[in-house]
Structures are given as structure tokens and as C-alpha cells.
């Protein structure tokens, strides 16, 4: 399974905000941490704010802060803001999908989809925060150094996850 870039950015962001609901975090801080374009991230944050998961804070020290209940929001809730898992309509199906072989393969892919959806629907942001905290304590994660170097950033080669 591969999530689209906007979806990943939304998940990174909402988890950053949920980690400390009282803290205002600027878009540029998240953009820097995840090595993404602030312009790209702004659209994602705008959608999260529109949906009520974060709220914007104006003025000095402004940015966004978490505005939902981390124990009630699942990964799937965030993913569905940016992705559509509905079955492809007839106009988007590949010709081979209506053959017996294609239908058998579709059954297998459907099984995988259902398990993935159940997994994503059962993991709340609060559960993710526990995992992140555990990772912080036990496993420093290596940052993609090559990409940072290509962009001319000296930055730390090692950084804790999330």
C-alpha cells in the first residue's frame, strides 16, 4: 500500500499537532522537519483546518494547533480526507478487469483492501502517539541525508522520528 504525498503530509502534521495540543506549530517548522515545500504543506494544513482537526492561530507565535480528540480520530479519518478508496467506476476500469482472470485478481486485492481499511480504522492518533514515544526512547531514525544534502542543508544526519 502506498499513500499519496498529501496524505502522508497530513498524517505527519496531525501527529505533530496531537503530540502537544496546547502548542502552536508553524507550517514552516513542519515543512522543515519533513523536508517538504511550505507551499505544498499549506494546502494540506488548510484541509485539516477546514475539517476541524486543527485550528489556525493568528499573530506572533501563530500557526496551527490540534483541535480534535486524539483518542477518537483514527488514521483512516485523516486518510479519507485526501484519498478515495471507493471501487473504480466502469469508466476507470482496465479492460482486463472484467475477464475471469481480472475478477479473480480483483478478489485478492479486495481482501487486502479490507484488511488495510480495518487496520487504519482501528488505530487512533493516541495509539500512534504511544508508538512514537516508544520509538523516541528506543530507536533514533536516520534522516534522508542524501536529499537534505542535495538541497544544501547541513542539518543533523540523525533525528528522532516525528
Amino acid at each position: 500500500m502506498r499513500l499519496q504525498k498529501n496524505t502522508l503530509l497530513a498524517l505527519y502534521s496531525v501527529l505533530e499537532f496531537a503530540f502537544d495540543p496546547t502548542r502552536h506549530i508553524s507550517a514552516s517548522e513542519i515543512a522543515h522537519k519533513y523536508d517538504v515545500s511550505p507551499h505544498h504543506l499549506a494546502k494540506v494544513l488548510s484541509e485539516l483546518a477546514r475539517s476541524g482537526y486543527v485550528e489556525s492561530v493568528r499573530g506572533v507565535g501563530g500557526g496551527y494547533r490540534f483541535a480534535a480528540n486524539a483518542r477518537r480520530v483514527t488514521l483512516m479519518d485523516i486518510i479519507l480526507l485526501f484519498e478515495d478508496f471507493a471501487p473504480a467506476g466502469a469508466d476507470r476500469r482496465e479492460p482486463g478487469e472484467s475477464t475471469p482472470v481480472g475478477q479473480a485478481l480483483a478478489s485478492v486485492m479486495h481482501e487486502i483492501d479490507e484488511i488495510a481499511k480495518a487496520t487504519l480504522s482501528s488505530i487512533t492518533l493516541a495509539t500512534m502517539l504511544q508508538w512514537i514515544e516508544r520509538n523516541r526512547q528506543t530507536r533514533p531514525v536516520r534522516r534522508p541525508a542524501a536529499r537534505s544534502a542535495a538541497r544544501g542543508k547541513a542539518g543533523d544526519a540523525t533525528e528522532e522520528a516525528a
Binding site: M1, R2, L3, Q4, N6, T7, K43, E47, R50, S51, G52, Y53, E55, A67, A68, N69, R71, R72, V73, T74, D77, L80, L81, F82, E83, D84, F85, A86, P87, A88, R92, M109, I112, D113, E114, I115, A116, K117, A118, T119, S121, S122, I123, T124, A126, T127, Q130
Partner: protein, 219 residues
Amino acid sequence: MRATSTKAPAKPPAAKRAKASAPPVTRVAGKPAASRVRPHESGASARADAIDRAAAAQPATTVSIRPVRPSDLAQVIAIDSIVTGLEKADYWRTIHRRYGDAERAGRRFLVAEANGSVAGFVIGEVRDWEFGSPPCGWVFAIDVHPQFRLAGLGTRLVGAMADWFRREGVDTMRTILARDNTLILSFFRSLGMTTGPFIPLEIDLQGADFFPIGRDRAP
């Protein structure tokens, strides 16, 4: 899983356009605007929030976890009936006979007692080499009365069962749930449980002739 498309940015909800301070709302995939709800008020989340409110209304309680007693059975049946919407008295009497004896090796039936009443229960069993698995502890039933949810009873019940499994010498605790039971799946996930190495498989023996199990195939 395949993402079939990226959604186009949607217009802000009418209520939000009208008043910036209106409650935040979100889209629920596949539902019309009329059914828009708060992020935490859809499906299982709405039930969970109702439980939040019920729990908040409860006074402080004293809770203890202990083995089930015969006198608890009626309350166990009542809790299960409230939670599942189905009264299964005969089933629970059988379960109590099988698992209610604390002296019986490998089986445990615990209740959470709050203010003198049964507020929840958990049942577990150590099974050896089932499905080729080394001995592990199975949690096969857990219920908490809705009035007592979010008070940590479920966590304490599972914790007590985990402690007992450890004393029995097993290293793994396992359970199985319907995949649309997101509320309880989320509960077990919040305890750190993840998908295990076994995958349940099944077939509809009445309707499936796709692979005719137990039927003579035509030559």
C-alpha cells in the same frame, strides 16, 4: 490497498462559510453534506463519545479485579446482554462451568467489581500448540458495562489477565475480533497489540460451490 483517486478540494461547509466560529465539521466519505458530522461523532466514535459522557457522569468508584463467583453470573449475563443486545443465559452458564473454576489449570474468568457490583469481565485460556503456535494466552471475551467505560476497567482486566498468562509461563497474548468492530479493535490497539502472524480463513459451506469442499467433483 490502492488509492483510486485524490479528492478534489471541497468547498467549505455552508455553516462554516456563514460563521467562522461554527463547530468544525468534516466529510464522511460517500455521505451527502446533510450527514456531515464532527470528526469524533461518526459511527463507532459517536458510540464512544456517548460512553464518554456516561462515564463522566459516574461518581468515583473503588474497583477490584478478582476471579468470578457463582453469584456474579446474573450480572455477567446482564452486561453481555446490554453490550451485545442479545441475552445468552445458557451460553454463559456453560462458560461459567468451564472457566469459572479458579483451580482449573489454563483457564481464567475474572471480573471487575466496582462499588460492590460486577462492572466488567474478561475470560482467557492458555492453549498449547493450537494451529502450530507455541503456548499462548487467548483472550476470548471481554465486556465492560457502558456506565463504567473510560474508567480504565478494560485496561485493568486485560492487565490482570496478562499477569496471569505470564505466571502460567506464556509470552504471547492473542485475541480475535470482527474487523468492523472498530471500537474494541481500537481498545486492544491502544494497549499495544498489533496484527499477529496468523490469518483466520473461512468459507461459506452452504453457499460456496466455488471450491466444492466435501462434495464429489464431476470427473
